[in-house]
């Protein structure tokens, strides 16, 4: 396998890790509005991801850095092409990141309310924008022969990409609710699980719509149907199983199901793209292939060595950090950091 393919897979893995981990961070952020009833509950909800959200975001930073290093053309075309959506994405990440830290630093209702909104907006916009990003990536974007992308509003925002965005928002929300169910006790835990049961149907509808529109609006099934059909089939099965796990209150298994659905959906984008990294809607000849976009072999070799040494270490201490904070939060007021 050429090194550039390995890096394509590695970047997929980084985005998969990102959506699995930040997925529940986003969902937890949304839950501060929809689930938490008072200030204490909001704080408990935020504290469930307190020790980990920052590191979870690094998966995205690393994915971006890896794109830059391994596929400079992909990075350059996509990041300049998605200029305005990315400005919005960055603003969302900025306000969310500082909100956790700032929120409890001033004893004023208006202050706290402002940062609550920042957490909410900063948690709902990114999954939507990532949904839009990945769906429009496989749908095709106006990329010219010089690898420059000149997208108009409807290239970003159309029925398919909005479905993709909403699907990511709902899946993240569900994933986050189930995470809260795992990390809290008593009433909050009950309500998180109840809210998950409530949002289950709507999320399912969007998930199905997403699969249908992927079929209608992209070439993914024509090119990769043999892999995508079983994958999406598995998504439907897992999502069906989730129904029973929610009903029987199997919290760990429920959370695993939403996690797996997110993972498979994210993986499906990369399978749909392969062997391209970007698809041109102007002319298939302008599609950017993995080989076209990649760095030289020497550079990829060096980075492969670093990645294969470091990723296991990173995974080890990441798992350890979740182990350290494995206990549920009671909501004892004195003991919340955020």
């Amino acid at each position: 396998m050429p090194l550039s393919d390995i890096w394509f897979i590695l970047i997929a893995v980084l985005f998969i890790g990102f959506i699995f981990l930040e997925g529940f961070d986003f969902g937890v952020g949304m839950s501060t509005k929809f689930l938490a009833r008072n200030d204490l509950e909001k704080r408990v909800v935020m504290n469930t991801i307190g020790p980990v959200w920052d590191a979870n975001e690094v998966w995205l930073i690393t994915a971006g850095g890896a794109m830059f290093a391994a596929f400079p053309h992909w990075y350059a075309t996509a990041f300049s092409g998605f200029y305005l959506p990315f400005v919005v994405l960055l603003l969302a990440f900025i306000i969310r990141g500082v909100a956790f830290e700032f929120r409890n630093k001033v004893d004023s209702k208006a202050w706290v309310k402002t940062w609550d909104w920042a957490v909410f907006i900063g948690s709902i916009l990114p999954p939507f924008l990532f949904g839009v990003f990945f769906t429009s990536l496989i749908r095709g974007l106006p990329i010219d022969g010089d690898m420059n992308m000149y997208a108009s509003f409807t290239d970003f925002i159309n029925v398919y990409t909005v479905i993709g965005g909403v699907t990511f928002v709902l899946l993240s929300y569900l994933h986050g609710l189930l995470f809260i169910g795992l990390k809290t006790v008593d009433d909050l835990r009950e309500r998180a699980n109840a809210a998950a049961r409530k949002v289950y149907a709507l999320t399912g509808v969007f998930l199905v719509l997403f699969i249908i529109f992927t079929y209608l609006d992209t070439d993914a099934f024509t090119d990769h149907g043999a892999i995508l059909i079983p994958m999406y089939g598995l998504v439907v099965v897992l999502y069906g199983l989730l129904f029973f796990f929610l009903k029987t209150k199997r919290e760990g298994l429920s959370f695993t199901m939403t996690g797996l659905v997110l993972i498979i959906v994210m993986a499906s984008f990369f399978i749909a793209l392969f062997p391209n990294v970007m698809i041109s809607s102007m002319d298939p000849a302008f599609n950017m292939s993995i080989a076209d976009a990649a760095s030289g072999d020497y550079s990829l070799k060096i980075m492969t060595i670093v990645a294969f040494t470091m990723v296991p270490i990173v995974l080890a201490y990441t798992i350890w950090s979740y182990y350290v904070f494995r206990k549920r939060l009671t909501g004892d007021k004195e003991h919340l950091e955020y």
Binding site: P51, V52, E57, P72, Y75, Y83, L91, V98
Partner: protein, 468 residues
Amino acid sequence: MLEEVLLARIQFASTTLFHFIFVPLSIGLALIIAIMQTMYVVKKDEIYLKMTKFWSVFFLINFAIGVVTGIIQEFQFGMNWSAYSRFVGDIFGAPLAVEALLAFFLESTFIGIWIFGWNKLPKKLHLACIWLVSIGTVMSAFWILAANSFMQNPTGYVLQNGRAEMNDVVALLMNEKLWVAFPHTIFGSFATGSFFVVGVSAWYLIKKRKVDFFKKSLTISLVVGMLSGLGIAFTGHAQAQYLMHAQPMKMAAAEALWEDSGDPAAWTLFAKIDVENRETTKRLDIPYMLSYLTYSEFKGKVQGMNALEQQMIEKHGEGEYLPPVKTTFWSFRIMVVTGGTLLGLGALGLFLMFRKKIMESVWFLRLLIVGIFLPFIGNSFGWIMSEMGRQPWVVNGLMKTADGISPNVSAGQILFSLISFSTIYTILGIIMVVLFVKFIQRGPEEQPEEDVSATDPFETGGAGHAIK
């Protein structure tokens, strides 16, 4: 095209300079807090625990802003500078990816564990976490400077496929620029953290509040600050020597030297620079000094911009090759003055401390409060000198800044992002100052640690627990 280049440059400069307010303070405070917590674990004296917790309030607020402003940095190469990204991604992107893998994961994971793990982990393991954060911040600086050093002094590459591709990772990492810039930046960062603690402690000592607590803080930070000041001076000297042979145009601009200097060369303290007529008048010179700075001996001459420009025209063809001379010249001086002042403050402070006269020297304590701002000024102007002095190149000798921008991004889009980012950065800046003032005035907490149960597994401790 001109408009886009200008706007993209303003955006890069403003977001980067803003980001670099927080980065050095984080690097410096992480070290000082790690030292304080080590003293707590070793000496088992509660006061060091209180110190760790008090100073970590500022560290964490600052760290949060540093993290979020850092995300933009990674995105904007691709967003505003796509032609540059295509050209250098192979060799410039690699250190950024390694930085994320090696440093970002480390610092962000362990800072989470450290903040929330006060009573969950054994003391020594918890202490190890803050050291890992500190190491992470320093490693992060190394890799980002590895990338920046390539822009200043490209090494380890070959030009093929229309871009600079890596062909020698050892040459990339052994780049001379990296090994003068990295220690210089790190010492500058340690000084930033130190003089923040020094200045705040001085304020308390003037007010005679919590004298024991802040005297101890002052001692630790003065020692670190003084050592950092020495480090800054030595590595600054190494930078000048490096510049002389690797980026002579930057050095000549930093000296506003049009014609070749005499031998030995004098260092100009002040001068009136006339860029249009290419002359520098009313120089106030320190004889021999430039020769010493660049060659470590009191002889040797330095080439001027006129001759260097001619060489560049011969090599790269007709064009503009002068960096903004006045900016480079004055930035260099501001940086040198702040660095020298810090060293002086550190030395005098330790002397007064040693003679046990620091408490009476209110005038000096007042100076130390002003000293908080000096490292920030020095850091910023150091970078302005370094990056402006590299112009018109984005990668020295390989690619001009104007050729690096995204052809598909309009001036309007850049203006929109520039306004958005500046607005939110201004708000963040104001909030940071307000919060810092608030927590400085509030001071270390009065109540003993016992009322935060040490046995409760859900206790998250840390700095913020009793704030609201």
